[in-house]
Amino acid sequence: MGLADAFTLICVVAGAVLFLAGTLGLLRFPDTLSRLHALSKADNLGLGLIVLGLMPQQASLMGGAKLVCIWLLAQLSAATASQLIAGIAARRKPQA
């Protein structure tokens, strides 16, 4: 196992752990906002680590660039979704 493979292994495992933690948080945390917090942690950092870990495995620069693009697009949509959910949660709260 070369250095690159070891790097991949560590990063991807760390990413997977973050996803696991995020899922646990989603299921266990009491209210919408803290669940959202857990979820976006997993989404941002977990996906980021996995993408980072897969970088050395790419044969070409294009492949790496595509991976980064995927991460950026996921960031964008996740951030928007979080905003939307948080907005709805904030609007509902005063009425409850």
Binding site: C69, L76, L84, G87
Partner: protein
């Protein structure tokens, strides 16, 4: 190791499907179904069918989910509370047993398929040269079995005509009301930032689809999603369904397909055959036109029947 991964994936798929059926929570069922669609996309990637994986993830996990969520919101507002599965055993036991029987019979057939497996891969690859393509799936869709793809476009258009026919008489020819009453700011931001990327990805998909996984369906779905995003965010109104330009776009792809098909009668070896020298450019041209048609049709199918009277 990879078989363990597949087993976990399969277990997840079955668990989600069961959850969709038995849960009492209507919205929860839809969300579980969307997760199911995404997992299924991974399943298709595991089956090494990247073309299908892309289509499934985009349609099964995306557009269908949006359609279902919008319908659920509508039903909650307009209809009696949806009922849950019958608890009376007589009502569900017989269907459950017969469905179990179907599953068992299917499983037996799947395990008893002949080996070596019959396959058209040889013929598909051997004939690839005549089409000038590199992706055999695209060759099947646009050359060997082109008639299926062409008539399936007609199916899509008929579905759209059918959906439009469900409007009130006064609204027929008008536009759908997609824009929600309150548009959240982040959505508008996303609708401004995302579409250029989406269009880029779609163009890329059509372009590489001739030789690599990807193609007109996947690209069309992405474009449809972008169009819906822009309309949902209120940046553009949904188009009038009577608009001539819109209708030209919808009919353009299949119409070009039919024309090239009959061109084949005159200059190649019959209906839907391409002259070998220009097969690839013809196919890519048809794909480009089809992509626009598919994008428009899918987006309008999600938008539903027009509900505002047409404006001249």
């Amino acid at each position: 190791m990879s078989l363990v991964f597949d087993m976990a994936l399969v277990a997840g798929l079955i668990a989600l499907a069961l959850h969709v059926v038995v849960t009492r929570d209507g919205r929860g069922a839809i969300l579980a179904f969307m997760a199911f669609g995404l997992l299924l996309g991974i399943g298709w990637a595991r089956l090494a069918s990247v073309d299908v994986a892309l289509t499934e993830a985009a349609i099964g996990g995306g557009l269908t989910g949006m359609l279902l969520l919008r319908a659920q919101a509508h039903l909650v507002r307009h209809a009696a509370h949806p009922a849950a599965l019958p608890t009376d055993r007589r009502r569900w036991l017989v269907p459950a047993l017969s469905c179990g029987l179907v599953t068992l019979a299917l499983a037996a057939v799947v395990l008893a398929f002949p080996r070596p497996a019959p396959s058209l891969a040889h013929q598909a690859v051997a004939s690839l040269e005549a089409t000038g393509l590199g992706n055999p799936v695209t060759a099947v869709l646009l050359a060997y079995r082109a008639i299926d793809t062409l008539l399936e476009k007609i199916v899509l258009i008929l579905a759209l005509v059918g959906v439009w026919s469900l409007s009130r008489d006064a609204a027929w020819g008008g536009a759908s009301q997609l824009r929600p009453a309150i548009i959240p700011e982040p959505l508008v931001f996303l609708a401004r930032v995302m579409p250029p990327f989406g269009v880029l990805i779609a163009v890329y998909q059509v372009w590489v689809g001739a030789d690599l996984p990807g193609g007109t369906f996947q690209a069309g779905t992405i474009l449809a999603a972008m169009a819906l995003l822009v309309m949902l965010a209120g940046l553009r109104l949904a188009p009038q369904t009577q608009s001539r330009a819109l209708r030209l776009m919808l009919a353009g792809g299949p119409a070009l397909f039919v024309l090239v098909g009959f061109l084949g009668v005159a200059v190649a070896q019959g209906f839907l055959s391409y002259p070998e020298a220009i097969a690839k450019p013809l196919i890519v041209g048809i794909e480009a036109a089809l992509t626009l048609s598919i994008a428009g049709t899918l987006a309008l199918l999600v938008a539903g029947p027009p509900d505002r009277a047409p404006e001249p």
